[in-house]
Symmetry: C2
Subunit: 426 residues, 2 copies
Amino acid sequence: MTIALFSIGTELTRGEIVDTNSAWLAATLTEEGFEVVSINSVPDHPDAIVATLKRLASEHEAVIATGGLGPTSDDITAECVARAIEAPLVVDESALLSIRRRVEARGRTVTPHHEKQARVPAGAELCPNADGTAPGFSVKLGRATLYFMPGVPREMKRMFREQVLPRLRPNAPNDTFVIRLRTFGLPESTAAQLLEGLENEFEGISLGYRVHFPELDVKVQARGVSQADARERATLVATIVRDKLGDVVYGEADETLSSITGRALRARGWRLAVAESCTGGLISHLLTASPGASDFLIGAAVVYANSAKTRLLGVSEDTLRGHGAVSAEVAAEMAQGARRLCEVDVGLSVTGIAGPAGGTSTKPVGLVYWAVAHPGGTIVRERVFHGDRNEVQVHAAHAALDLLRRAASGMSEGAEIPLSQRPPVR
Amino acid sequence: MTIALFSIGTELTRGEIVDTNSAWLAATLTEEGFEVVSINSVPDHPDAIVATLKRLASEHEAVIATGGLGPTSDDITAECVARAIEAPLVVDESALLSIRRRVEARGRTVTPHHEKQARVPAGAELCPNADGTAPGFSVKLGRATLYFMPGVPREMKRMFREQVLPRLRPNAPNDTFVIRLRTFGLPESTAAQLLEGLENEFEGISLGYRVHFPELDVKVQARGVSQADARERATLVATIVRDKLGDVVYGEADETLSSITGRALRARGWRLAVAESCTGGLISHLLTASPGASDFLIGAAVVYANSAKTRLLGVSEDTLRGHGAVSAEVAAEMAQGARRLCEVDVGLSVTGIAGPAGGTSTKPVGLVYWAVAHPGGTIVRERVFHGDRNEVQVHAAHAALDLLRRAASGMSEGAEIPLSQRPPVR
């Protein structure tokens, strides 16, 4: 069974909104074992909508459409469906009643705009809307079943889960399983090289790569005779992939580098203080994006000016003068200062030149030092990151979190990150 | 001239990423006066890609495709284009050279995976990639021109602006002009009410609203006999819109609340220190996202634990005990402490309960206090923000920046933000 998604609305083709409905539907259907093979959007033009409906119905077994069921004049989906299936539009009395109840419960009067939403193609099967006035519906066209839902994400999601998914489920193939490994520190091409040939070695396995800067996801997708079989195949190959890629694999599925770093700190019983310069608060922001950061994060200082480095963190003026604010020595003193200041177990620091200005011939834009000061000593790392200001900041923040993750978990501390010749300050 | 967009990749049809590329392209093309009439996605299946290319080329004059140009085995766009136009794949020597230079400049060795990206359909016109290894290209198919770009948003956007748009522009209708006003503090329905009737009053004007949380963009789009005429109409109506909406309009086009706040601080000659609790570094991150933050931002403290509030900012233990960490009094002391600590002109603070846990009956999740301490005194604001943890953090950070913008510009300090009965601490 193949499924097509169809988002209807000029707000999409004019780029006024991003089609998050299709992404949500695609993810939900994929989790249920279905394959979405086509995603489509057209503006609120009757001919375009009718033609797309006919084409999708001829190519797929199910079409899931959203949008254009509202009260205004540019909501023309029901009308277009009626044209496509060559049926008249009729008023559905039960839909009309529920619209009336809903509108009147809010102390408003029913207008022809509201009543318009009860008009559906004759023969359509209704999908009541628990969260809004416009009902959804389904019709048959050729061998395909077409489902229509409102475009409002909250109404659509509930209707899909409660009304549409139960009707689709009997047709779910249920023979695939995907494991998504999250990595930091490997370029896509290197990962592909390390895993070369794996797809041919194992039947029913395909590998996928997805860069979301500065990270790389490696997906192990398995197809089997049943979902249990597929899960077993995927698990086996994922173990091999983890083995080949090493500890650049930091987690799975929706885990993030910051959540895993937080988990490692909790497990170690380490309380953390952060000192950021060029990353300007990004590390703290990433760490506090998930709840529970207060378990380990005591405080952080964003020390943009040299005076703040000295005043807040006790970085020595001699070090700043002698080595410059962007130096291994200052990174080390920042991490140590944050640790001392907050009286915690571990300090994490970053100092660098995010750009676009501020670079010199010896200290180019993108040069970043980061350090972890922990009970066993201080580790400093150095790298020149490429890209624009935002990319340098994001890359540096992730590199610093990764070093902290490695230090807290007792792993090799960043062998995958190329270092300069300068020996680390200990 | 009609345009179709085509996003290629299983990561889209599996819902692993949202198709922001199509939304960006659609918005950019719309602003240039083009009409996007079809948006399409298919997985990395050769037959589906080839069939979609042929269909779109037969229906539209331009097809703009993204994705599938990378180094790995699932990147098959060039191969599919070659099949669709019935041309062989050939190695483009200039592309190969630029890939080599790019890879070697980063100290890595060129692999067959990199080289694969230099293979393009014979006869294709290359679009160099300034930010990555994979070049884009264009080909003719029937009466349509097809453009192919990488899926990485940054690479795609630059290539589109510098390579594709200049080739499309001669065909632009060139009789429209759009002014996008950026606002914070007004719900969409209120903005629409304040601007009701404006579209009917002025010929060729349409208004568009786009929420991107927690902000609202109001777009004034004008159509005229020429672009100069359209620009004049749009400018006139934009002035009226600014007048009706007041100082919730903080900027235009790509200006951000943080960049405008930074500009106001620079203009006033105010140096800033920030003290964040529940926003966890987000304010600092937003302020340092644009270059030049070091002109005004001296330092910031993320004071998650009470001990950090006392130790770093000198918030009194009595105040913490008496009013709790989430209180107007602590917000005021945090802002004053940051100002004193960094010896600057203005301190900005936020303290609140981002959730999901930590709420009580008197202090619910979402309760946030923010304060600005400046030479004229201290202003504190309070509000309960709705939404999940991330939404509370983002909304609170914007509210705090907006108060700072208003204070630095000498505007009304947040009249548009509903306040509780509690009188502000002065």
